[in-house]
Symmetry: C2
Subunit: 333 residues, 2 copies
DNA sequence: CTGTTAGCGCCTTCAG
DNA sequence: CTGAAGGCGCTAACAG
């Protein structure tokens, strides 16, 4: 195939200048006489020249693309982050290579290496449990990495999150204040430190503050899907719980629907607080009270932080905590 | 910065072979004596050599990355397609550069050019209205392009869709068979040919088949968001309609909720059929009857088609229509 | 302000 | 089966 590409050399010849000069105008280098610049731009336009980013990347060692590792784009939680990431990336002239990992640690390592092979200038990682192997890869690479909506117990790399522990504590306290003594903690995999460490300890703290006793029987480990919630509802009810803090909206809706389909009234018979404040909480009846977390912003700030890292700017704080809140709706009294 | 990268040259030296040989083993070229191969692989492993994909891209003119233009990843409809695209891309060793366009035609053109500058091997485009300028860019480029979930009236490029017209006709016929004479058509922008041509003519055909008369007053043009649906509900009701075909699940849920919050019973007082069969249709009460379309598969097949195009394989048919269906739930009798 | 000259790291004939 | 050599298209000193 003879893909008739026109190169910087062609432009230089047509404009009677050297390729260096063409390179300068293309890159906005001020050291070019206006007249020359104009002439070159004209030729560029006439020839419809488009700089080859790959060649540029090889020569400059910068690709202006960042890798984004995400468990699943089709999950609204992550896709919200992704949108924030891309918007800020675009703002700073970066593109993102997006790869799904399914939270599978083996894939995560593969994908990361693949991204590094492609010479991305930085990486944003979203995941659950960060394995030691992955952490090893992180530190081995000289490429800046930022976690978004994922905590690294060691804080080796930058990260952007909310205070999951505090938010969960507040939510559980809300429930406790409404008179509940048996409050279920319906979690995703506890292996994920956000669940197993942050949120769980927030839950425990709340119980302690309110003089309630902790019971293993009120802890439910699950995945994040709607169907899981539906299936879990009965067990949660049988545990004696009269309220629940749920870590995922889909899960929460599943529980709420199953409970209601069984004739229970929410919030009269059972109260629920969920954690993501997605559109789902607004759509279902009753609407779900939820912790609010700025998903889009988490992504956006993570990307912003990454740009600073890539630019070798001084970072005041590489672990960023964004504000959260609680949006009270119909699933609590 | 002295990023101590180790190159193919280092490997060659350590292994006492030429870089050509290293290149061969890295690329799986069979013309290498097993012993040599083994030796090289050993050195690669020892030095932890990772081929530079950018250099490779420059030399081979293949980047093994494809560009994906998407209106909004945080929209479940598109993110489902994106997931299908990425899975198949991964399967074929491609990465995807994902960029949001907001369906803005100016951005789309920019983004496309940016992608082409990065020498992507192919492009998957998702959008609504394909402007002439964009179509011009498409045909000007020698890079294969496939549309996913988007129709190009001219069929200049490959595309993967369902039969929107037929699906809509069936849905409206379902409503007509239930005795409705005034059926609203609640659409996204009619500028999008999927709405303004395909679905609308399916709607009209159904009316005609059922001996119902078409009325402008029953056509509603909107965007896809939940809130729009809520706001639209009253107008739809005032139009005299007793049923509606809605093109977006969010929109449909908005209408259903607003109607019910106003005391109407669904499906007794009003029936609704929506179009995307997303989780939303399953979550709300009553559940929503919906056209089913294989979103993930549309993305997956589009990417598969693109791989063939990039590989210059013979294509039997570059316009692929995937099967659809109707999933009856509680919003219809 | 502009041109020259080296590469960036790898692939790909072409010989041998 | 293996090596040598010439780019791929562009950036980046370094002169002038």
């Amino acid at each position: 195939m003879e893909k008739q590409t026109i190169t910087i050399y062609d432009v230089a010849r047509e404009a009677n200048v050297s390729m260096a000069t063409v390179s300068r105008v293309v890159n906005g280098n001020p050291n070019v006489k206006p007249i020359t610049r104009k002439k070159v731009l004209e030729v560029i336009d006439r020839l419809d020249y488009r700089p080859n980013a790959v060649a540029r990347g090889l020569a400059s060692k910068k690709t202006t693309t960042v890798g984004v590792i995400i468990p699943d784009v089709s999950n609204i939680y992550f896709s919200s982050l992704a949108r924030g990431i891309d918007d800020v990336a675009t703002m700073y002239k970066y593109n993102i290579i997006l790869t799904n990992s399914d939270g599978d640690s083996e894939k995560e390592v593969n994908v990361l290496n693949n991204l590094l092979a492609k010479q991305v200038d930085g990486v944003i990682f979203m995941g659950h449990h960060i394995t030691d192997q992955l952490r090893a890869e992180f530190s081995r690479s000289r490429t800046p990495i930022v976690l978004a909506g994922s905590v690294d117990p060691d804080n080796q790399v930058g990260s952007v999150n909310i205070d999951y522990k505090g938010a969960t504590r507040e939510a559980v306290e809300l429930l406790a204040n409404n008179g509940h003594e048996k409050i279920a903690f319906v979690s995703g995999p506890l292996l994920d430190p956000i669940n197993g460490k942050e949120r769980l300890s927030g839950y425990k703290e709340a119980l302690k503050d309110k003089g309630l006793k902790y019971s293993e029987g009120l802890i439910f480990e699950s995945t994040f899907e709607y169907k899981q919630g539906v299936d879990l509802a009965e067990r949660v009810l049988n545990s004696g719980a009269t309220a629940a803090l749920v870590v995922s909206d889909e899960l929460a809706v599943g529980i709420a629907n199953a409970l209601q389909d069984n004739g229970l009234k929410i919030p009269d018979d059972f109260e629920i607080v969920t954690s993501n404040n997605s559109l789902l909480t607004e759509i279902v009846r009753p609407r779900l009270t939820s912790i609010t977390q700025p998903l889009y912003d988490i992504g956006a700030v993570a990307m912003r932080l990454l740009t600073k890292l890539m630019n070798k700017e001084e970072i005041e704080e590489k672990v960023v905590i964004l504000p959260h809140g609680i949006n009270k709706r119909g699933s609590t009294k």
